[in-house]
């Protein structure tokens, strides 16, 4: 009797949650994300990363009251998958040659953290997941816009073509760096806030998480710094003819993304009250 009930429970939990697991991609079901992001135009990519992924998170939030009991029974699978997914995605980001694909994979890594926080059913974990969802939406959207600025000028998304932008678009380097700071969860952005919340929510699960979560976080910093330093530092690519200055519209667009990220930590009790 107990065996039958547990099996039925797994089916219901999985069916209910599968839609959102695919939408906000968890590691095994993330295969559509790099394809869709790399092929989409910039506005489509921004809306995809900024809002559509959060649809999955919001949907998970909404059905959590129905199937949250299943998280105690079956959440371990998703937790382990997501934590290992962060590490794998972080490692595979270091071998990419495509800026947009790197930002897409960093989306997968962040959402892996979200799922880890959600299945723990701790207050800190769920709040941390919510803060990551908000911060990642703004940060990923800004990063896609920033990568598009280089794509529009050089016509290629490859790292090698777009390197050395510090010599060319110096002012934009500062803005790009502040955006990368948010992606690698460094202070003073709310991404750091979210990772601290999640650390409190995740670490009691198993001793192995003490190894995997810092490794995943570190790899996030590594590939974000890889993105920043490869595209900014170094000698600029010799095959460019002209490179227009970044217009007001582009700078304005990215600063709109930066301001919530860097200022929202000043009132972070707002995030604690959302649960």
């Amino acid at each position: 009797m107990w065996g039958v009930q547990v099996k039925l429970g797994l089916g219901i939990f999985l069916f209910m949650v599968l839609a959102f697991i695919v939408k906000m991609p968890m590691y095994f079901t993330h295969l559509w994300l790099p394809k869709a992001h790399v092929e989409a135009p910039v506005a489509g990519s921004m809306i995809l990363a900024g809002v559509l992924l959060k649809l999955g998170g919001y949907g998970l939030w909404r059905v959590w009251s129905l199937v949250g009991v299943g998280a105690r029974l079956f959440g371990g699978y998703f937790f382990g998958l997501s934590v290992l997914g962060i590490v794998y995605v972080g490692l595979s980001c270091l071998r990419l040659g495509d800026m947009k694909a790197l930002v897409a994979y960093s989306s997968v890594a962040h959402i892996g953290l979200v799922i880890c926080g959600l299945v723990r059913l701790y207050f800190w974990g769920i709040n941390g997941a919510l803060v990551i969802i908000i911060g990642h939406g703004i940060c990923s959207s800004g990063l896609f816009c920033a990568v598009n600025i280089y794509y529009e000028r050089s016509g290629r998304r490859a790292f090698y073509i777009n390197k050395g932008a510090l010599s060319i678009l110096s002012v934009f380097t500062l803005i790009f760096f502040i955006l990368c700071v948010s992606n690698m969860a460094a202070p003073p952005t709310i991404s750091l806030l979210s990772e601290i919340f999640l650390m409190g929510g995740m670490l009691k699960y198993d001793l192995l998480i003490l190894l995997l979560f810092p490794l995943g976080s570190y790899l996030g910093a590594v590939f974000t710094l890889f993105l920043f330093s490869y595209s900014q530092h170094g000698k600029f690519y010799g095959g460019i003819f002209s490179f227009s200055f970044s217009s007001f519209l582009e700078n304005h667009l990215i600063v709109i993304h930066l301001l919530p990220l860097n200022l929202a930590f000043l009132k972070f009790e707002f995030f604690l009250s959302l649960y």
Partner: protein, 98 residues
Amino acid sequence: MLFSSGAIFHTGGTSFFYFFVYLLTLVLVLTFLVNNYFSFYFFFESSLIPTLLIIMGWGYQPERLQAGVYFLFYTLVASLPLLLMIAYYYIVQGGRGM
């Protein structure tokens, strides 16, 4: 979490693009605002169609066709069990709420 489409630029403007982006934004706002699971599911799925049209119509590489189809079917097939489960909860509980 929602960004206004007025600040998003792209190379070479046609009016249909803004229509699709606006429609997508509208559907997404509605997804977060409705109160019952069926409406949420309806808007959840219908946000896929403008996204697919944006990817297919204004993407940059020829791989976007396959990528768009991949994205659409992956997400669609995975959320079909969600519809079954929402219907199941509706039947089991005799009526649904939040």
